[in-house]
């Protein structure tokens, strides 16, 4: 019987593997993947004055996965001549995290824009997919006031925006299927998603079918987006830690299997 490692050693090694590159970055190259580049190109190709619905339903638990991508994509949008409708549909935590973490990170970009004219924030709206359907159908009926209590009819940006037909792009956080069902399929509005890294393989069919026009999945993809917009942030800083932790897991799988093979050869289980 080959003796197994004490898991506490693995935990310590993982701690070092994740922590060391945060203290001393390795600066490993970061190739840009196709779904990330597709979203970047989509935003670059938007005509001036286009309306983009940006769903920032970030939760505190998923902040490391969703936060940096939200910040990077918003920075890109704010650097372009597009109008942004901000909303949180996925979680009620969205507005608080937007105010405490996203807004300070994009403050310099927001300064150049006028609230109500270039962007508007509707905060959290309950109902998730049903709310999406209602918003896509008639925004003035489903969203009566913005986050500051201003009636929608008094917001200059919303004067010419009535339904999903007026949108050029929907960028959402979390799961992509509801947005495809409520924006892409009935109205043909392109949809892009900022999601967890583990969702990337599951969402590839939507990318290949053209139902998703782009995807930023996890912190690695967020780091790629930061490279594209030339604005390194939280994701770029943790890119090396991500690399080494993934490599560490892959090595452990191999070591575990070598031990398993040796144990079986010696007649153990």
């Amino acid at each position: 019987m080959v003796k197994e490692f004490d898991p506490r050693w693995m935990y310590l090694l993982l701690f070092i593997v994740v922590g060391a590159p945060l203290v001393r970055p390795l600066g490993l190259p970061l190739p840009i993947t196709a779904p990330v580049l597709a979203l970047y190109d989509k935003i670059e190709s938007l005509p001036p004055g286009s309306i983009v619905l940006f769903e920032y339903g970030v939760g505190a638990a998923s902040w490391p996965e969703h936060g940096p991508s939200n910040i990077a994509v918003l920075k890109h949008l704010l650097s372009k001549d597009v109008k942004i409708i901000l909303i949180a549909l996925y979680t009620a935590e969205g507005p608080t995290l937007f105010a405490t973490k996203i807004k300070p990170a994009i403050a310099s970009y927001l300064e150049k824009k006028t609230y109500g004219v270039d962007y508007v924030d509707f905060g959290y709206v309950t109902g998730y997919e049903t709310a999406m359907a209602a918003i896509a159908e008639d925004m003035h009926k489903a969203l009566t006031k913005d986050v500051y209590g201003t009636p929608i009819d008094q917001i200059p940006l919303m004067k010419n925006v009535k339904s999903a037909r007026d949108l050029a792009l929907v960028i959402a956080t979390g799961y992509c299927e509801p947005y495809i069902r409520q924006f892409y399929t009935p109205y043909g509005v392109p949809v892009a998603i900022m999601t967890w890294g583990m969702n990337a393989p599951g969402y590839m069919p939507y990318i290949s079918a053209g139902q998703l026009c782009g995807m930023v999945a996890g912190i690695r993809a967020a780091a790629e987006y930061e490279v594209l917009i030339k604005s390194p942030g939280e994701a770029s800083a943790s890119s090396d830690a991500l690399s080494l932790s993934h490599l560490f897991v892959a090595i452990l799988i191999v070591v575990g299997n070598i031990q398993y093979y040796l144990t079986r050869r010696r007649g153990g289980r």
Binding site: P7, T126, T130, L247
Partner: protein, 215 residues
């Protein structure tokens, strides 16, 4: 009011409203469109009420524990849960709503710090599991493991640095076998969802009428 307790009423309502929403998605009928559009707005309001119901439910459940439970630790934890829930609610309602400095401070120092911490503990479990559980016991699991390792390394920036083939293989795995497998799962799930919808519309699926009940 005995008719209100009958299960036929919610079954009938769900069938009618479900069929209306279903039909509105596929057909352009202005009257139906207007009704379904109103229903969608109602659901947004109902969902907001559901959150309020959640507060009442938590108060009843934990209030009962605080009043009746003999175990001092369980009583204390329930009391703490109630205290924090109402503290967050009260601070959140201070003007400007959810933007009051005390609410933001409490959120940033507790929820925003603890949630990712708990989530990140998963990394230690995954590390341990990768060593102890992922065993190539036969050819199928060996293929699964090799594909898994390639995708893991493809998803990490270091993959391409170690060997350019990892990027090629990982990209192929993501775009060909994974897409094919996922499509099969999606189509299967969609057909299942359709069957469930038909069962619900026709009143054959009524598990949702009984809290925690089956079949």
């Amino acid at each position: 009011m005995s008719w209100a307790r009958r299960r036929e009423l919610p079954l009938f309502l769900s069938a009618i409203l479900g069929i209306m929403a279903f039909a509105d998605y596929f057909f352009d009928i202005p009257v139906l469109h207007s009704v379904v559009s109103d229903l969608q707005v109602w659901i947004i309001i109902l969902a907001a009420f559901a959150m309020f119901m959640g507060v009442i439910n938590l108060t009843i459940v934990h209030g009962r524990v605080v009043m009746r439970e003999k175990d001092i630790i369980r009583r204390g934890l329930s009391a703490w849960t109630l205290f924090l829930m109402y503290l967050m609610a009260i601070l959140g309602l201070l003007p400007p709503i959810t933007a009051h400095p005390s609410f933001r401070w409490l959120y940033s120092t507790t929820v925003a710090a603890l949630d990712p911490t708990v989530y990140s503990i998963l990394a230690f479990y995954i590390t341990s599991a990768s060593y102890r559980a992922f065993r190539a016991r036969n050819i199928e699991t060996m293929i699964f493991l090799i594909a898994g390792i390639i995708v893991i390394l493809y998803n990490a920036p270091i993959g391409g640095y170690l060997h350019p083939g990892i990027v090629t293989l990982g990209s192929w795995a993501m775009n060909v076998p994974i897409v094919a497998g996922q499509r099969a799962i999606m189509v299967g799930a969609a057909i299942g969802a359709l069957a469930l919808a038909i069962r619900t519309f026709t009143g054959r699926e009524s598990a949702w009428l009984r809290a925690g009940g089956g079949g």
